[in-house]
């Protein structure tokens, strides 16, 4: 990722509706001091949900003869395009797809074979009223009564090998938890350095996991490791765990107390 802190603030936390609203409500009550910090509040801490991790090397699908692919990427907020976040994460997403080694070239323009990969990350907004109320109380008590807000993300990777090829599609769910004020973080969480790091980690993990699942489809023609290690705890009952099948429209709450071993 590139960009100074101002860009990170504008491109990062301010694009994610629920966290933004909560931060805004806190700022409203904390007044000028937190406004100086751009509404982010120095009291905010972000945690990437540990249920979904980076794809371990031994579980990565490979391709014998990688071919070029055209990439499409869009970040959405509740299904609507979010250009600011799209711009912010585009390079990271392209780099993640390139680093998978599944393609010889990742291009934004059409390629000869007609192969296309589409990556969509959708920030699902819910419980805005609750977020508003909790954020207001946090601000009103000057952070003494902290609150926890969760931003949910669904990453969908779709791939077609050519004009007549069938589409392969996989989705995974992920989440970022943000505490505002004095609030004990959920158990098993590893604190991100800042919201920008949390967002980039979330995006990298979500894209690499869904892409690896696409590559594991027999129609993709990849080489699947004999005994792939699971990318997430098998018994994670939750939306934040990778979902090999299409995810439901209404997401259940992600687990806040899962992994005994934190983090990345």
């Amino acid at each position: 990722m590139r960009g100074d802190s101002a860009e990170i603030v504008m491109g990062g936390i301010m694009t994610f509706a629920k966290t933004r609203l909560r931060a805004l409500m806190v700022s409203l009550c904390l007044g000028l001091a937190s406004l100086v910090f751009g509404g982010q509040s120095a009291l905010a801490a972000s945690y990437v949900d540990p249920a979904l991790k980076d794809v371990p090397a031994e579980a990565r699908v490979t391709k014998a003869s990688p071919q070029p692919v055209q990439i499409l990427f869009q970040f959405q907020t509740d299904g609507a395009p979010n250009e600011r976040a799209t711009k912010y994460l585009k390079t990271l997403v392209i780099d993640t797809v390139t680093a998978s080694g599944l393609f010889s070239e990742v291009s934004e323009t059409p390629v000869a074979s007609g192969a296309v990969i589409s990556v969509t990350i959708n920030n699902v907004v819910k419980d805005l009223k609750d977020a508003t109320a909790q954020g207001f109380v946090t601000g009103l008590t000057f952070g003494l009564k902290g609150s926890l807000v969760t931003d949910h993300y669904t990453c969908t990777v779709e791939y077609v090998g050519g004009p007549d090829a069938e589409k392969i599609s996989r989705s995974v769910n992920h989440a970022i938890h943000t505490t505002l004020g004095i609030k004990t973080p959920p158990e098993g969480m590893v604190k991100s350095k800042n919201i920008a790091e949390a967002v980039t980690t979330m995006a990298r993990q979500a894209v690499s996991n869904s892409l690896n699942q696409v590559a594991a489809d027999p129609a993709f023609g990849g080489i699947v490791p004999a005994a792939p290690a699971p990318a997430a705890p098998a018994e994670a009952p939750a939306p934040a765990a990778p979902a090999a099948t299409p995810v439901p429209a209404e997401l259940p709450e992600p687990p806040l107390t899962p992994a005994p071993t934190p983090g990345q």
Partner: protein
């Protein structure tokens, strides 16, 4: 006395954050890309896109959501933004060709976004016209509409409404590209 006034000011700023935001650059979708390639259609050129005759100029320039709006990055015209959205889809599929005898034109007929306290609604409509070597082979009005759960807070409701409105352009283009009559009109 000062504290309530500051609080009121803050609340007002939350609910009435008037500003103009540039629209998101149109991005192609894999669905439309495959649709165009599977249909095996030739390259197409884009003609004039403008506001339909008799409609107020403001319809092509501004949607008003609690005093805020989005501005088209293409000459400030929503009709031209529709053209750019279609161009992005055709370009990504390798189907855009300025020299083609098949020309698609459009007239904006509807453009609206509202962010109510509970529900938001956005609407977009256009009449598309296709000519082959100067002869009209397709003319059809198409429209799309979206509704969503809105919010009392302008800081949430306004960007949500403007994002939803912007998203309608891709949906309207999809409506065109999946219209069997349109596909039949542009096939060789």
């Amino acid at each position: 006395m000062r504290a309530p006034a500051l609080l009121l000011l803050a609340v007002v700023s939350l609910t009435m954050a008037a500003c103009a935001t540039p629209m998101a650059t149109p991005g192609p979708s894999i669905g439309n890309l495959q649709r165009l390639r599977k249909a095996d259609v030739p390259q197409m050129a884009l003609g004039d896109f403008r506001l339909a005759p008799g409609l107020p100029v403001a319809m092509d320039r501004r949607v008003n959501v609690r005093g805020s709006t989005v501005t088209s990055p293409t000459g400030g015209s929503y009709a031209l933004f529709l053209k750019e959205t279609l161009a992005a889809e055709l370009q990504a599929a390798g189907k855009l060709g300025a020299a083609s005898g098949i020309v698609i034109a459009g007239e904006l007929t509807e453009s609206e976004a509202n962010a109510g306290i509970d529900v938001g609604v956005a609407k977009l409509g256009a009449t598309f016209v296709v000519t082959r070597d100067g002869r009209e082979v397709y003319r059809k009005p198409l429209r799309v509409e979206e509704s969503w759960t809105s919010s009392f807070y302008g800081a949430v409701a306004i960007p949500m409404a403007l994002n939803q409105y912007t998203g309608l352009y891709s949906k309207l283009v999809t409506r065109l590209l999946e219209d069997p009559e349109f596909v039949a009109a542009i096939r060789p």
